[in-house]
């Protein structure tokens, strides 16, 4: 009868040193990160198709004539500020100050609402000028199609974020949410801000 023995000196390269948690985060946080990666690829697809149409078009509307860039700059300022208040909410929750975290979460939700209000104003203005999904007064039909699709999907993310933030604030008030919960919502909200960085650059400025 033969007996199997483990080798006495195994190579360090062959050993598994990740332990039971190779990423060093909770499964909830890991799943949130994986969700954000897939969501990022959705927006990457949108922006890549926008890039294709933009490159393939001999002409493209002058964005500074279509959009009010100072207004878009203000929207960006609001979203960046709401990201900072969200980060402060995470910091407060991690220090155990859930009451302060709740205040920062409400401020973040308020920032999201202001952003949505600005977006509604921008959409209304462009629709009144004749912009539709299939046509617009600026000549290139794809321009308004991409505008409504990309900013619409982003706006939907903001709306979902505001809803989740409101639920989180309510749960914090009843003592039913933890610092880990605030961190998960924070990751989502920062992602919304991150996506806007790319939309702001690629669609409004380049």
């Amino acid at each position: 009868m033969t007996t199997l023995h483990a080798p006495e000196h195994s190579s360090p390269d062959a050993s598994w040193e990740g332990g039971v948690s190779p990423f060093g985060v909770s499964w909830q946080k890991l799943m949130m990160w994986f969700f954000l990666v897939t969501d990022a690829l959705l927006f990457a697809g949108f922006l890549a198709s926008y890039g294709f149409v933009r490159l393939a078009s001999p002409a493209w509307p002058d964005r500074s004539h279509v959009f009010s860039l100072p207004f878009i700059g203000f929207m960006t300022f609001v979203l960046i500020t709401s990201s900072a208040t969200m980060a402060s909410a995470v910091g407060a929750a991690q220090r155990g100050n859930l009451a302060l975290a709740r205040k920062f979460v409400w401020l973040t939700a308020l920032g999201g609402l202001v952003f949505l209000g600005c977006q509604a104003r921008e959409w209304t203005g462009l629709i009144r000028e004749g912009a539709r999904l299939t046509s617009n007064p600026w000549g290139v039909s794809g321009f308004s199609a991409f505008f409504f699709m990309i900013t619409g999907f982003h706006g939907t993310h903001v709306l979902i974020g505001v809803t989740i933030l409101s639920i989180l604030a309510a749960r914090l008030g009843r003592g039913r949410s933890s610092a880990a919960g605030v961190e998960l919502v924070g990751l989502y909200w920062h992602f919304v801000d991150l996506v806007w960085v790319f939309i702001f650059t690629c669609f409004y400025l380049i």
Partner: protein, 98 residues
């Protein structure tokens, strides 16, 4: 969960993001070569994305395995996507304008 960051760090990140946004908007008004403006916009975009992911999303405090998985997967796929699409777009443009 890692140790909480100081509030000051968040507001320094916020200031940096705001300053970069102002620089990006200035490319529309300050006269400069298109190529320089484009390079400035792309660099500012990448720096802003890095600040948000590293500081606001705390990715700089996470294990390398998570950072590589998240950033590596996203950047690689996006680069392949854009890398395959750009030549096609240029070819269509050449065909249209001929």
């Amino acid at each position: 969960m890692h140790n909480p960051m100081r509030y000051r760090s968040y507001w320094i990140s916020w200031s940096a993001l705001l300053a970069l946004t102002v620089v990006m908007l200035a490319t529309e008004t300050v006269p400069m070569y298109h190529t320089i403006a484009l390079a400035l916009l792309l660099v500012a975009m990448v720096v802003k994305a890095t600040v948000i992911t590293a500081w606001f999303m705390h990715l700089r405090f996470e294990r390398a395995a998570l950072v590589v998985s998240v950033v590596g997967a996203t950047v690689l796929t996006a680069v392949v996507l854009f890398g395959l699409i750009v030549p096609d777009g240029m070819a269509v443009l050449r065909h249209t304008t001929q």
